[in-house]
Amino acid sequence: MLHFRTFCSILCAPLFLLVQGQVTECSLLLSGSVLDEHNKEPLAFAEVFLPQLEKGAVADESGHFLITGLCPGRYVVRVMHLGCTPMDRTISLEKDLVIDFRLEHHAHELHEFEVAQQRPDEGVGQPQQQVDKDRMERNTGRSLGEMLATIPGVNMLQTGPTISKPVIHGLSGNRVLTLNQGIRQEDQQWGTEHAPNLDPFSSDRVTVVKGAASVQYGSDAIGGVVITEPVELPREAGISGEVRGIGLFNGKGGGGNGLLQGGVKGIRGLGWRVQGSGRYIGDSDASSYVLSNTGLRESAASASVGYRDHRWNASAFYSYFQRELGILRASHIGNLTDLENAISSGTPWYVGEFSYAIDAPRQDVEHHLLKAEAGYAIKDRSRIVLTYGYQADDRQEFDLRRGGRSSTPAIDLFLVTQTADVVLKHWIGKSIHGKVGVSGAYQENTNIPGTGIRPLVPNYRKQSGGVFLLEHYPISTKMEMEAGARLEATRLDVAKYTYENLFITPQHAFTNSAFSIGANWSVKDSLRMRFNVSSAYRPPHVSELYSEGLHHGAAAVERGDATLNSERSLKATADLEADWLKGRLSTDITLYADRINDFIYLRPDGVQLTIRGAFPVFQYVATDAFLYGIDATLQYRFARAWSIRSRTSLVRGRDLNRNEWLFQVPSDRTENALLVTLPKAGSWSALEMSASSTVVFEQSRIPVGLDFSGPPSTYHLVGLSATATRTLGKNELRVGLQANNILNTAYRDYMDRFRYYADARGTDVTFWVRYSFGKH
């Protein structure tokens, strides 16, 4: 279908333009007004956004907007306003265009999901990035951690090729809160080798808030928050959907996902969606050997139904997620001597033939989420929203054991969490609006008997309750402010047997508070600034209080400290977004500094002798930490179809009490890409291609004596990608190719816990095809 002529014209067109020296000034203007559909009143501060260009503008008080520096082409324009259904319109831009958008405005409503979309209104001052459907699609076939790692300031903490957790501004694990459809994800996230148990495709958009955000989201939001946004259900009759097939060449695997959604004829406002995903992958390949026992099987499904009208809304959502994965065979070691041998040998001690089989050591997890929500407009502009969430997380880990016990789990945990929130969205006077709310959570962790092994984490019950207030105040047409506070109390009841077989039931109570102040300032159309100072907190996790014993996977004995206090952090961020050279150059720079008191981490504390040999002992301790850094994105369009993009992030972490660097802070990295965008090439449209180079520098800022080996050296990876769309009648076909590490470079990453045992993945090619149908 891709004829030679089309192929040639795709490759040749941009070159032709470049050779001709045709640097067309992309300086078209899109302007107009955003009005209410019914009464033609202007909708002040409406947002007009072009997702494909990541460019937009906020309308002024009279609903008038202006976007500059556009190239001719076909674009989707998304128009949003508080209290209105967002609207997508496709426009064809050949010259300056003046267009009026009419939104259906239901007077004085505030829908939670719409508020979540209004970037000017939510998380004022916080640096945040969205990974919209388009960007998620380019990273299809990858895990959530890998998808987010393309955002500057966000890295991955990996355990081999299939396990990755997001790291935001140097912090991860318990310090990154994940919200699944707006509900706090509780899936044993304390474990460094426990990846988030959620399918990014159960949502249409993932937002990463790179800041301390405990006021809005509660405890644990110290590094940041990963939000899989609730889906917008259709409101009108008619069925639409999409289906995607994925081929994963490294691992010789494949996957697919699809969704079907629609409204109900005769009942306007009622909509539903069903969605499913799956992946099946065998052993991954490093550049020169097979990474044995790194296969993965994943399946997920979700269903939701919702109703909305002027007065009230109600929705229910259920999702199921299952993942089984193998742990690199060569990472399974017995004691410190084995680890030292692995580090000095340079190649994994076990390399087998490629296989799809997953043997011990392996993990098998299942996660269920049920969410119910109802909202009601109680007065003119106020709205009350009640949300209930129920989660069940079942985690089994299998180890290599004697006596045929490899099929008996070594860890068998069942975690049930219930959350309930009541939030009142209100207006004070004409311009101040915000929310006040009460939230509660109830959690029980149970070790299922039968493992024959002392539990790593004891049984416990955790209850918490909090109140919060967040008010938003537009100071002028160019500046708005937000301030808020939260108070939360947590109670922890633990039950365990000590090494002497004494049954103890310790109790803990933590009280924490957080505040936040932020401001957005549009200095002028081409310069926007955001400032934020927020505090956040995190009560210690049960594993940090009560760990006791050998952690096999880490070849270390870990000891908790039951006297640890909550971590408290204070973070200041400044974000600068600017357009230069008539929109040809855009820059986005975030600066941040974060001080965390009572920062909890593991520190070596001697050696313990057992029959297996010597093990280093690690003790959970607290210190005061300081992290700071800069994220920068730069995009320069130097020709009509060509641009270069640079994403760089630097982060530093300091242990203030010991005056040394913190362990496991990501090193400096920069990703530079050459992009080609062609609105049309033959019968294909929205053609995008890129060649990228990623350099990850050696981490030279490390604490002495805290690591088993030195950090890996600087490495450089080259990647290519291409996507194209084709309209088939009223439906759409999109294809994409993404190739990472095309030079098959052998490398190890400092943030990969398996760097002691094996190289990271070699060349990794993913190919996908998506077909979408029905009205969108």
Partner: protein, 191 residues
């Protein structure tokens, strides 16, 4: 009609709260691990004298398994210039009745091999048993002592080693691979 949805959702929240508060009783814990099967507390290295030498025993005990307790050695001295038939017994003494782990090692012989490294002490070991494939395990060995000397002997048990690796079936641990299940260095006096 207007109040119904509010009532329903309030009831839902109420039910959730009730459900939560019901469990005001003690959080139950799993029963104590009476038989923690992966634990090996004791290694008995028994030397049966051949041709007139007395029987000797080297014993290593770490009573609390992976716990913080310090392990204890109970050592005999070996006779110089003698032959012994040595055997290893592994026990889990936290279990009741005491669990003989060396039986499991024998049953899964193809997955296990012992290695002996003498430093300073003049003693050599030759494998005297075999697994289902004919490769050595090391639960039974023939030990020969030489001149009187003082040193150590390190006994290592590897799980799933590469028994076909170069030198491995002769007792050289260098290319063995696998995970270490036991690594005990016995002080050894030969007199």
């Amino acid at each position: 009609m207007r109040t119904n949805p509010v009532c329903m959702t309030l009831a839902l929240i109420f039910l959730a709260a009730i459900n939560g508060c019901k469990k005001d009783d003690e959080v139950t814990a799993p029963p104590p691990i009476v038989n923690e099967e992966e634990v090996i507390t004791t290694m008995i290295f028994a030397f049966t004298g051949q041709g007139g030498a007395d029987d000797k025993e080297l014993r290593f005990t770490d009573a609390d398994g992976d716990g913080g307790g310090v392990p204890v050695f109970d050592l005999d001295t070996l006779q110089a210039a003698s032959d012994y038939s040595a055997s290893i017994i592994l026990l889990n003494e936290t279990a009741d009745p005491v669990d003989t782990i060396s039986n499991e090692v024998l049953e899964e012989g193809t997955d296990h091999q012992f290695f002996f490294q003498a430093t300073g002490s003049d003693i050599t070991f030759v494998y005297a048993d075999a697994d289902a494939n004919g490769a050595p395990i090391g639960l039974a060995t023939n030990a020969t002592t030489g001149t009187p000397s003082v040193g150590t002997v390190k006994v290592t048990l590897r799980h799933q080693p590469d028994k076909s690796g170069s030198g491995v079936s002769g007792g050289d641990i260098t290319n063995a691979g696998g995970e270490t299940d036991i690594e005990v260095t016995f002080p050894l006096v030969i007199e």
